[in-house]
């Protein structure tokens, strides 16, 4: 029927957006009005949802690009690497499974991917998580949910940054030897790598044409690329924080207390962020009885940080998201292991513990950046922690489901047999999945390591800005959503019902909807700056069935790069060009066509008026819909009467003149 001869206009964007793609891809995210300007790619074969999402996202001041075919979307992403920050994708799509797209995006571009579906069953959501989705939204999607997707971007970039710092230090393993004067904390941080990290800092510091000394308290040079948090400096920081109290520790006050010349508030702010994360992570580890119970979960209690004076980036890196493949490679390099072996994030259990505890103690007072990372279990480059093996079982029992995101987590690479519960199976699945993935994709991933590195280099400041702006940006909103999504992540099984009820989804999800080949129109359209008034619809669809091109209600700008889009898409560009001019008139024709149907006079609302209309209640649905009209009360009717109603219904309809709609019913 619906031949796949859809015309999809190429993705369009304004010149400014495009320009920002090429040049400062990283900076585009971190603008002054962050998260406004977030570049979102939406992929959904359902045009209705696509249009609604587009509008919602534009209202969030994001830069939206829509796409109704997964393959086109993939090509788009490949063509314009670095031009998107986050991808929203439907799960069920005709040409490619949403999860496949998710995998591709995760591997090739390493962008955060958020899945969407009308199917809100736990199993479906679980699948999404397992595949590594950052989030899983249930249709109908509300604007509030979309407002918070930027957190996934920030988090991912942040963790990539940390990873980069770490990876940069690898070449310097001989340079480290900063000494380990922080033996007091027994956290899972590996001392060796720690030294490496310090060496890295040292190297980057000297590389910055500045002083060669480790301390950085003399930024007389205007160009102060990176602050190196030496031990002394960090101790000062910690004592300042202690003095203020962890919950009252604001960068400004800390800065004053520290009284270090040349240290900027931004430095302190970003350091504080990391530190908080670190604490959170450690609080989880402490549950295992490893560390002193200097503090429990909630950070808002006054935490004495004596025992954990040392700030360890590497530990924080562990708590963030790091693509497992990258980590595997780095780890392999670091430890001299063969690249193909699985990296055991042996501090995984620690993180899991942390993540269990995490949601409880998320300091909602701040921007979202803190909220999630600990909830993610990620592989870690560090050497094994002492107390790793044990907790997996504990973790599994506590967790209904693992938190989302690249669950390539590879927990301790052994000991999973002990779990009889479904968690065990799930973990095994994840493990195997990731193993396979790793083996398959090890090669390409290593080669592409440099690429993310390059892009990440540009954004040392990106850590700073979001923390500030996010705090100001809808501070009211984000905490709530942090909690919400945290709950979700922590225990998808249980809390999901909360989530779904909150999201106002009264769906009855019955049965299982398999993936398949649904032929639909291909619509690719794009919008640029939200400020521009792009008239009405974004969808330009060609209906091969009717042979009429209808509803080109858009003036998408055919984009230069679009020519490179293969096959179908290239046709699209041309067609789109020809229709662009007519968009104005067609626009009017579109809606009017339907109104014309109404205006033909045969449509008499009165016929469907309250009195005459008897809406047969669906006996098939589990939910009982009860319709009350003015006159007739229609209650639930037994099955046998159903056909009668249907006949009545049809006969009522037949009174109307034939038109598009009627053709549906006449056979």
């Amino acid at each position: 029927m619906a031949a796949l001869q859809r015309v999809a206009s190429s993705v369009s964007a304004t010149a400014s957006n495009y320009g920002s793609c090429k040049g400062a891809a990283a900076d585009a995210v971190v603008s002054d009005q962050f998260p406004a300007g977030l570049r979102v790619l939406v992929v959904d074969d359902d045009i209705t949802c696509l249009r609604i999402l587009e509008q919602m996202l534009r209202r969030c001041l994001y830069l939206v690009t829509t796409c109704s075919q997964a393959k086109v979307a993939l090509n788009l992403l490949r063509e314009r690497k670095g031009c998107f920050d986050v991808v929203l994708s439907d799960v069920h799509m005709p040409d490619m499974d949403g999860f496949k797209l998710l995998e591709h995006v995760g591997l090739e571009m390493d962008l955060p991917v958020i899945m969407m579906s009308a199917d809100g069953r736990t199993s479906a959501v679980m699948r999404g998580i397992r595949h590594g989705a950052c989030d899983y939204l249930i249709k109908p999607i509300r604007e509030e949910e979309l407002k918070n997707i930027w957190q996934h971007v920030v988090r991912k970039k942040w963790n990539e940054n940390k990873e980069l710092e770490h990876s940069g230090s690898l070449e310097d393993s001989d340079r480290n030897k900063r000494g380990n004067d922080d033996a007091e904390y027994t956290s899972s941080v590996n001392e060796g790598t720690e030294g490496v990290l310090k060496g890295h800092k040292k190297r980057s510091n000297s590389k910055d044409e500045d002083d060669g000394e480790p301390e950085n308290d003399d930024p007389s040079t205007s160009k102060k690329p990176r602050v190196v948090w030496s031990v002394e400096l960090h101790q000062q920081f910690v004592s300042a924080v202690n003095q203020l109290g962890i919950d009252k520790a604001v960068p400004k006050r800390i800065l004053e207390l520290m009284n270090v010349p040349g240290l900027t508030r931004e430095n302190v702010a970003s350091h504080l962020q990391k530190f908080r994360l670190y604490l959170k992570r450690l609080s989880g580890v402490s549950q295992q009885g490893g560390i002193s119970n200097a503090f429990c979960g909630p950070l808002d209690s006054n935490v004495k940080l004596n025992a954990l004076g040392r700030f360890d980036i590497q530990a924080l890196a562990a708590s963030g998201q790091i693509p497992p493949q990258t980590l595997a490679a780095l780890h392999a390099e670091l430890l001299g292991r063969p690249a193909g072996s699985l990296v055991t994030t042996v501090d995984q259990p620690a993180l899991l513990q942390a993540s269990i505890q995490g949601p409880k103690c998320i300091p909602v007072e701040h921007g979202v950046a803190f909220g999630q990372p600990l909830v993610k279990c990620q592989s870690n480059i560090s050497k094994p922690f002492p107390q790793n093996m044990v907790s997996v079982e504990e973790v599994a029992s506590k967790f209904g489901a693992w938190p989302s995101n690249s669950l390539g987590i590879v927990g301790p690479n052994t000991n999973l047999g002990g779990m009889g519960s479904q968690n065990g199976n799930m973990l095994m699945d994840i493990l195997h999945q990731q193993q396979q993935q790793q083996q398959h994709h090890q090669q390409p991933q290593q080669s592409s390591l440099s690429e993310p590195g390059l892009s990440i280099n540009v954004q040392p400041s990106c850590l700073v800005v979001p923390s500030q702006s996010s705090a100001s940006f809808q501070a009211g909103n984000s905490p709530a959503s942090v909690n919400q999504s945290c709950n979700f992540n922590r225990n998808a099984v249980i809390d999901y019902s909360l989530l779904s009820s909150q999201s106002n989804n009264s769906s009855l999800n019955i049965g299982h909807v398999p993936d398949g080949n649904l032929k639909t129109t291909v619509v690719v359209s794009g919008y640029s700056v939200p400020g521009t008034i792009s008239p009405s619809a974004s969808s330009s669809s060609v209906n091969a069935d009717s042979g009429i091109n209808r509803q080109f209600q858009n003036s998408t700008i055919t984009f230069g790069a679009a020519r490179h889009l293969p096959g179908l898409a290239s046709n699209i560009c041309d067609v789109q060009g020809s229709y662009g001019a007519k968009s104005g008139e067609v626009l009017d024709q579109g809606p009017l066509r339907y109104l014309g149907f109404v205006g033909k006079g045969t449509f008499l609302p009165s016929q469907f008026s309250v009195d005459e209309f008897t809406a047969p209640i669906s006996n098939l649905s589990q939910g009982k819909t009860y319709v009350e009209n003015n006159g007739s009360k229609v209650k639930q009717e037994p099955n046998m009467e159903f056909t009668d109603d249907a006949r009545v219904g049809v006969s009522v309809l037949r009174q109307f003149p034939p038109n598009d709609l009627m053709s549906v019913f006449t056979e």
Binding site: M1, I47, T48, S117, S507, G516, N543, P591, Y626, V627
Partner: protein, 156 residues
């Protein structure tokens, strides 16, 4: 005089909407749609609803075609179509249509042909009702805009 017309039309619209909400034909998601309409997209609601109708009719055609195939009805494919129907219907707030789709999907999963047929009839009926009501709504809106629009210049 014309001003009164515009107000009356608005009252009619509100009444119609209230009725539809009461009947369960629409739910809050439709309100979300209305809130998304702004100066940059002044026709957003009608645009989206028209897209929905356009797509839905395709789906309905497909469904009927699949069901009429007596030899072997492709229930799997029906499920796929229904899934999309559910997604789009819920996205615009067409609650009753959506519920029928859900029931339809359940029947298709059981390969229950009779149930599917019944569901399809019901679905078409509900869809038709929704469409007519939507058109009525849009008509009222158009008339209201006209009435409101004409009034202002005269007041100058």
């Amino acid at each position: 005089m014309l001003g009164l017309g515009a107000d009356r039309l608005r009252a009619d619209m509100n009444r119609l909407l209230a009725l539809l909400f009461h009947q369960g034909v629409l739910d809050e998601q439709f309100l979300q749609l209305q809130q998304l309409q702004d100066e940059s997209s002044p026709n957003f609601v009608s645009e989206v609803v028209n897209i929905y109708f356009h797509e839905s009719e395709k789906l309905l055609r497909n469904l009927r075609g699949l069901l009429m195939d007596r030899e072997c009805s492709d229930y799997k494919k029906m499920g796929i179509h229904l899934n999309q129907f559910i997604g789009s219907s819920s996205s615009i707030g067409a609650k009753r249509v959506r519920n029928v789709c859900v029931a339809f999907r359940a029947a298709s999963e059981q390969n229950n042909r009779a149930g599917c047929l019944r569901a399809l009839e019901l679905l078409e009926h509900e869809y038709c009702y929704l469409k007519n009501k939507m058109h009525e709504l849009f008509q009222l809106e158009q008339q209201r805009l006209l009435a409101a629009g004409v009034r202002y210049p005269m007041q100058n």
